[in-house]
């Protein structure tokens, strides 16, 4: 199979996938015992049949389900994600506002965990079964075992309530206005505007939530890097490189590391989903105004248009990230294109 055909095939598979995703989200939010009328109106209004009827007509709740699904799908294609029952704003507008905060948080966390995790994994592999390896292994297992919500809470209690090192929740100090919007990432936007104090402030606010989120991811990156490095070091070409008389540092960095990196990159794509899951909890605890907290709020108020859209948008992002990873992998490794 040529590379083009592989990519076309991969993209063609997206269509049934997207239908499946929207259908599942739709089913979850409609075939349920909870009543959006009661939560949307409050108990007093919900006891008035006239108000209830108007509410149901307003949100199209009386149409047959397939009609409701098709209407929803049609809206999606036009970029219309519906209107939030609780905020009365277009969900698309809500997401436009909250998504950059989440991506900024998740990306920063990813950068931190990669910057720490890959070197640690390489060290563990090179010193396999040594003290460093064992220590790194235990610490990374511990990192993977800490419940994110507990870690976030303890970090909050320690660094904010007790020590006062961390700033109050939010993306910037309350007195500070956001930088002019270009990307929606406060760190990038303030740099673009050349506002250093705003940049420092945004970074300060980002530090604690990003580190919390990174610890969880770190363990897996260490693990994947280690096992993939161990495998690479055992290969014949590494023995050949050593036999040529290359220095160990060169053997490890040039020959083993490069090849070991492929599984790590693939993992990063898959790990992105876990990271997004982690943002729900991290954002809720640190009051970070992103989609994770939005999703949590929507689900606690049974705001179905909002829940459905957040779920779908995040799933689609995840699918696209994995598409990019797959295609990238096929570019690097011809076996994937030609293999079964």
């Amino acid at each position: 199979m040529s590379l083009q055909r592989y990519i076309v095939r991969r993209i063609a598979l997206l269509a049934p996938m997207l239908i499946g995703i929207t259908l599942l989200a739709f089913v979850v939010s409609h075939f349920v015992p909870s009543d959006p009328v009661a939560t949307g109106l409050g108990e007093r209004a919900a006891s008035d049949p006239e108000i209830v009827a108007a509410f149901r007509a307003r949100w199209g709740l009386d149409d047959p389900l397939p009609t409701q699904y098709l209407r929803y799908l049609g809206g999606l294609l036009r970029g219309d994600l519906g209107v939030s029952i609780s905020s009365h704003r277009a969900v698309a507008d809500d997401l436009r506002q909250y998504l950059p905060a989440t991506i900024e948080l998740a990306t920063t966390a990813m950068l931190i965990s990669v910057a720490l995790g890959i070197p640690l994994g390489v060290i563990a592999a090179v010193r396999r079964e040594g003290v460093a390896d064992r220590a790194i292994r235990v610490v990374s297992l511990a990192g993977a075992s800490i419940p994110v919500f507990w870690l976030a809470l303890l970090a909050m209690l320690l660094f904010y309530s007790r020590l006062g090192w961390a700033p109050a929740p939010g993306r910037l100090d309350a007195a500070m206005s956001p930088p002019p919007t270009v990307t929606g990432f406060y760190t990038v936007d303030s740099l673009l505007a050349g506002e250093w104090d705003r940049f420092a402030n945004a970074l300060h606010h980002l530090a604690l939530p990003a580190c919390t989120l990174a610890i969880y991811q770190l363990a897996y990156i260490v693990r994947v890097t280690r096992s993939s490095m161990v495998e690479a070091i055992g290969q014949d070409y590494v023995r050949t490189a050593r036999a040529k008389g290359l220095r160990e540092r060169v053997v490890v960095s040039r020959h083993a590391f490069r090849n070991a990196l492929i599984p790590v990159v693939i993992y990063l794509g898959l790990g992105f989903g876990g990271l997004l899951s982690g943002t729900v909890i991290t954002e809720t605890i640190f009051a970070w105004p992103g989609v994770g907290r939005y999703a949590f709020r929507a689900s606690s108020t049974l705001d179905f248009p909002a829940i459905m859209s957040v779920t779908v948008v995040i799933a689609v992002m995840y699918v696209l990230v994995n598409l990019v990873v797959d295609v990238g992998q096929a570019l690097i490794d011809p076996r994937i294109r030609f293999g079964s």
């Binding site: 419940p147 997004l276 899951s277 606690s300």
Partner: protein
Amino acid sequence: MSATLAGLGAQAAGGVFPRRARRRWAGGIAFLLARPLAIVGVTVLLAWLGVMIFAPVIAPAPPLKQDFSARFAPPSRAHPFGTDKLGRDQLARVVYGARISIPVGVMVIGLAGVAGVAIGAAAGFRGGLVDESVMRVTDVFLAFPPIILALAIAAALGPDLRNAMLALVAVWWPTYARMMRGVTLSVRQQEYVQAAVAAGAGTPRLLLRTILPNAFMPLLVLATVDIGSGITAAAALSYLGLGVRPPAPEWGAMVADGAQAPNQWWLAAFPGLAIFSVVMAFNLAGDAVQDALDPRLRGGR
């Protein structure tokens, strides 16, 4: 000829496997004992099992007993883990919490495992359209970040423990379905299975005698590590208010209570520590089981 085949089939379907599996077990246990971390993990798990069984003996007070004269008491000799806003003894609540939090995680993974294994085996066995559609459905489920889908399902079903567990099972089964399908497909090609088919073994017999024994070890590894994640995920849903309803002593909900009281660190610290110790123990054990099954690590060195 046909007698040999039948004999071969019977041997493959019943005789050879258990003996090899037994040897594998013995070797595996010896391997585990040689790893200090695995011993730590297993010991901690056994300790928690003891706590679950003997909770009424260990706990200094009933978990729901309120004592308004001792509200928000810091850890002391009388209350080693302190007390909460209603003067309930936190040690008692953590101890009784083990009876909720640990079984919930185990049950979520158990149910997801059973559902996934059944669906995966059916897909791998039937092949064709059944296989294709099951795989596409798992694709869709796996496209959702787990907590977000679980959050949506749990919220839609309404906040209680059973619904939170259902939501987690709904999120988790595809992993097991995919694994089981893979094992089924590869085992089905093996000669001894072909022989068993030729000998006239029916589908249930094939599944029980040839496919499941092969799937058992990979399932065990996956489940050991997953139970830890299952406990954390269930606790996280409870933390978010979608799981156990108060006043039940559940670790995630207890941490959430602690979040409301930033000056009483012990409220969040101890239940969180309990989750951490159980999950870490499962991870240590799972890690060792994984190594024990890796032929490159076993015997080689």
